[in-house]
């Protein structure tokens, strides 16, 4: 399990270094994800330890956003002053983005293999 965590941290570190060295517009962890994906493709499989840690982190992904979420209080006054444009913009834009992306990603796709109770 510890070896799995070491793998994740090493790839994050490599991603962080690459992102800064090449001034890439993408954050280090996202580059680390791409690098690890490449490594997994080359090796064809992943160790149990890595799978255990990855599953543990991903099944509690929501928890990891809580500290940043609490930071919303820092902007309480601006959010209160401009709540209407901000709220409408967030709701309208989230809905529009979900619909446009979902439609185009689904368009002409073979019916989902899992079925989802679709006719």
């Amino acid at each position: 399990m510890l070896s799995g965590f070491a793998v994740l941290l090493s790839f994050q570190l490599a991603g962080e270094v690459l992102s800064r060295a090449l001034r890439l517009p993408v954050p280090g962890p996202v580059i680390g994800m791409a690098l690890l994906l490449g490594a997994l493709e080359l090796r064809g499989s992943s160790e149990d330890g890595l799978r255990t840690v990855a599953n543990g982190l991903l099944s509690h992904l929501s928890l990891l956003f809580v500290p940043a979420g609490v930071g919303v209080i820092l902007h309480a006054s601006r959010l209160a002053a401009e709540w209407l444009p901000i709220a409408v913009s967030l709701v309208a834009s989230t809905a529009a983005t979900l619909a446009v992306t979902g439609w185009l990603a689904q368009r002409g796709s073979p019916r989902d293999e899992r079925g989802e109770g679709e006719p």
């Binding site: 517009p25 991903l58 992904l61 929501s62 809580v66 979902g102």
Partner: protein
Amino acid sequence: MMGTRLAEIWVYLAQTPLLWLALTVVAYVLADALHARLRRHPLAHPVLVAVALLIAVLAASGTPYGDYFEGAQFVHFLLGPAIVALALPLHRELRNVRARALRLGAALLAGSATAVISAAGTAWLLGASRPTIASLAPKSTTAPVAMGIAEKIGGLPSLTAALVILTGILGGVAGPALLRIVRVRDAAARGFALGVTSHGIGTARAFQLGEREGAFSGLGMGLNALATTLLLPAILRLLGL
């Protein structure tokens, strides 16, 4: 006597990261239990409930956010390795990703542009201030990227972080229901839309729908970070904002 003892304990706790680290995890565990109790009702989204609980505790105890973050940063730090870990589900789904590459590319470009234009356009129409508009424009991308973009276009990075989180929670709360209403039923398409729109929080929600949704959501999040960085400055220039 008891009062001074309590005060001493409080002084000790306020100086270590333990208190706020523990309260962050406890608040989340409570929120998650409530979510399960309410049969996973979308409005009881655990991030929303845990954040509300913690804000109430901070307000009641008069604790500044900086002090809170001293302890909570240990949880926050794990976001990095968690994003790297998205490579595993993606690896298992790569065959399906390749089969849909073209469609996903089109969805990504259109979705990324829609996010920026609709967010900035709506806020502008409703008379939001320039820094607020610039802070809203990159709100669908993952927080570190959105903050970097906001800084370059005259927004406020920390306000952007707050708006990014709100967008994530909104997508996590309403996303699956909205996608059902607009008849997006394909697991890959649902996951991809959640990731492009609501980054990591959408991805956390997507994993609750299924492994395939989660994998495609992680992909959508990563690709939208790239697409928004490249497209957003040009879009804002075209809009004259």
